[in-house]
């Protein structure tokens, strides 16, 4: 596996550039207020960091989101205001809009939570080159984990999914890449 440093030396980016950028699929999900959220039009013009996860996730989701929450306030307003974090749940059974709102607010303001039927979420992940989430075996008491893709996808302002940030992406990597993504791929 190529290290972040080696990748940065080779490509100039800390994240993994997709060989073929993927246009944002025309799909409509539901936001935490119950309003429709048309992914392509809502993300156009901004740098969107899209992540599939669930609020009961014990490790990957909170680490990714807390690292993003730590770096975003450090950008100047003209950069910060053009970056959007969108979290799509892969566990609609437990992730109600209210629960998602409460959970996302723990990381900071401005994170958007989205819900959709499992088939829609699976298809969306597939279109973006990610494997679908898999519900693990239920433990005693009914609790369960969900195996899901650990990468955050960067949708650039020109409406293309261009870069994938695997688990292990660090705050220094976000600080390095995000302003450059905005500068390089703005309309």
């Amino acid at each position: 596996v190529e290290s972040t440093q080696d990748r940065a030396r080779r490509t100039g980016w800390r994240g993994v550039l997709l060989e073929t950028p993927v246009p944002v699929p025309a799909v409509t999900l539901t936001d935490m207020r119950g309003q429709p959220f048309h992914l392509a039009s809502e993300t156009a013009g901004s740098l969107t960091l899209l992540f599939f996860g669930y609020t009961n996730c014990p490790d990957i989701c909170p680490v990714h989101l807390s690292n993003l929450a730590a770096v975003l306030p450090r950008f100047p307003w003209d950069v910060r205001s053009r970056i959007r974090v969108v979290f799509v749940t892969v566990d609609p059974e437990r992730d109600t809009p209210e629960r998602m709102r409460t959970w996302l607010e723990r990381f900071g303001p401005g994170f958007t939570g989205l819900l959709a039927a499992p088939e829609t979420v699976d298809r969306l992940q597939q279109q973006m080159g990610l494997p679908p989430a898999v519900v693990q075996e239920r433990r005693s008491g009914g609790a369960y984990d969900v195996g899901h893709a650990a990468a955050v996808l960067a949708i650039t302002p020109d409406g293309l999914v261009r870069v994938s940030y695997p688990f292990g992406t660090r705050q220094a990597d976000w600080l390095h890449d995000l302003p450059r993504l905005l500068r390089t791929f703005s309309d």
């Binding site: 014990p58 680490v63 807390s66 730590a70 292990g168 705050q171």
Partner: protein, 268 residues
């Protein structure tokens, strides 16, 4: 089965975890101590020494075993700093005080000890080295052994009984102060970095939502302030003993001079 506390990917919870390697290591240390102290049980001060040994072993146990060992080994940099203070800065001098005092001969000079311990502190706090070591159990074991071993090497001249070949109290105080200066580097680097430096702690599942950068800054402050408190305490003890000894010698000299002047007056 885990045998030593190292970085983990599982989320932290308060369920107990067993580390048999830690228990075996501590038993070996206690066995070695009993062997060295054998046959000296009735010597003066033995109870105090056993007391030092008990406190030292308890500190080592708490630093290496669950929960502090687990949290410091893979979740929170701040608790890793507490482990460092316990294993390298408090337990070693107590262990040395607990051992029978024997004059050292042919041991490395103080400056070499200071530089070696400084190198251990610096190397084990360099992000690339720390991350590489803390990800595996043998690596984490090596870090703990280096801290304990480096601490024993460093603290020996400080607690060594005064006598031939030992450092003067002033030099001991300077030696302690030099460590504080050496520790300023890693402490400042950790405290004032504007991004988390250690991947192990940045990418670990968060404990109670404590942000990685705040945790790292707390680690730097603990290392600097905790280290300074320990070093200044040691300097204060040395200064007090030195002052008391100087005072005793001065009083003896005055008594001697007074006795001599009385004897001269009698003679006249």
């Amino acid at each position: 089965m885990l045998w030593w506390c190292a970085a983990q990917t599982a989320a932290w919870d308060w369920s107990w975890r067993a580390y048999p390697g830690v228990w075996l290591f501590l038993l070996a240390c206690i066995g070695a101590y009993a062997l060295i102290g054998r046959g000296r049980a009735r010597r003066t001060g033995q109870r105090v020494r056993v007391g030092y040994a008990i406190v030292a072993f308890l500190l080592m146990w708490s630093a290496l075993d669950w929960p502090l060992g687990t949290l410091g080994g893979g979740y929170l940099a701040s608790l890793h700093a507490v482990q460092f203070l316990f294993l390298a800065m408090i337990a070693p001098p107590l262990l040395l005080l607990a051992l029978p005092r024997v004059p050292e001969s042919g041991s490395p000079p103080a400056i070499a000890r200071l530089l070696l311990f400084g190198a251990v502190v610096f190397a084990t706090h360099l992000p690339a080295i720390s991350d590489a070591l803390m990800r595996s159990q043998p690596g984490a074991f090596l870090v703990d052994i280096l801290w304990i071993g480096g601490g024993l090497l460093y603290w020996a001249p400080v607690v060594q009984p005064e006598g031939q070949g030992s450092m003067s109290p002033i030099l001991r105080m300077g030696y302690l102060f030099a460590l504080m200066v050496l520790m300023t580097g890693p402490g400042a680097l950790i405290t004032f970095a504007d991004v988390p430096l250690f991947a192990v702690y940045e990418l670990a599942p968060r404990v109670n939502g404590f942000p990685a950068l705040s945790d790292q800054r707390l680690a730097g402050v603990l290392m600097k302030v905790g280290g300074a408190v320990i070093i200044w305490t040691a300097i204060s003890i040395l200064f007090y003993r030195w002052h008391r000894e100087e005072n005793r010698l001065l009083q003896a000299e005055i008594r001697d001079m007074a006795a001599r002047s009385v004897s001269t007056a009698d003679h006249l």
